[in-house]
Symmetry: C2
Subunit: 216 residues, 2 copies
Amino acid sequence: MTETPMSNVHAAEPLPAPKTQRGERTRQKILDAAEREIGARGFSDASIATITAEAAVAQGTFYLYFRSKEEVLRELVLRMGRRLRHHLTRAVMDAPDRMEAERLGIRAFLQFVRDNPNLYRVVAESQFVDPAVHRAYYEEFAAGYSEGLRTAEARGEISPGNAEVRAWALMGVTDMVGRRFALYDPNGALDAAAEAAYDFVAHGMAPRAGKPGRRG
Amino acid sequence: MTETPMSNVHAAEPLPAPKTQRGERTRQKILDAAEREIGARGFSDASIATITAEAAVAQGTFYLYFRSKEEVLRELVLRMGRRLRHHLTRAVMDAPDRMEAERLGIRAFLQFVRDNPNLYRVVAESQFVDPAVHRAYYEEFAAGYSEGLRTAEARGEISPGNAEVRAWALMGVTDMVGRRFALYDPNGALDAAAEAAYDFVAHGMAPRAGKPGRRG
């Protein structure tokens, strides 16, 4: 890719944020266009030329805001993470306890996938472009999640358990159920899948005391 | 990539299997080299030249077995899937019931990730090269998993529930716990993470009857 001469500058700080609202709007417009382009064509086929054409800005304008296509992808992953966290925080803010927050959070995640079909692609592409950013995407979610679970355990809102393993397990549940029911199936109802996933998260699938199976 | 003129031939059947053991050994040698190359450099930087050099075969030999680098990646995903299924089937074959099979299966999956550090990369790369193969990788696992869960439910070995959602949820649990504890942390002990993941899968994390939390 001749357009990414600085692709080795992984550790470089992003360019300074625009000083004007107009500049910030242009920067977001480029990011929106890059998200669509990468979502549709993939990272290696998306080019700065196609991104700026899609954003309806001059190609030189790109370099006022980003050093490279790689830097755009990194910023897209960070932006996706912020948006998802914001979406989930709003969805669960009125939950009376942790399990109800999990129920609302699972449903909200599936909706986010439906509304942001480029989420999986953008995050997945980043693991090859910048493994550290990709890993941080998951680790930051897991760290916040683990802390919330520890607090909930101390309050007796969940059973005692390994908070870190549970955090990653919960991320896996929503990741894969989201893939199947919100991404692969873009039109199916989400409520039933969300409820079944919540039931799994709440109770697991071992036979339940007092509720024997048919031939248990 | 000038070396992949046939990359659009997604639906093409793979070339016929080698007729001799020697041919099959050469084919596997090329696949092994491709797995190492793609694992280390990624799909777009791995080339047929580097793969054949790594395999110590002439570049022309490659084309006796594969049409393109894309076809090699497809075959790697299928081979990973077969190996993983074989590994898990062996690990759980002596389990007396489904929940014990889950326990053994989770532990075995983490070990497989440890022993096959290219698993995640090969599977993830395939979603951009051939989305159908990538999706089939998960869907085939989920189909077999769902069927096993329905049988287990009929036998009373697990609680009643949505087998398909549970199958994807379980794949998510092992995928993310494997990422954190077997891939990101290549040396840590796996037993504790596997046991905690099993506990989550068996019992979920809602407060348990008769085991109230500290301040519940």
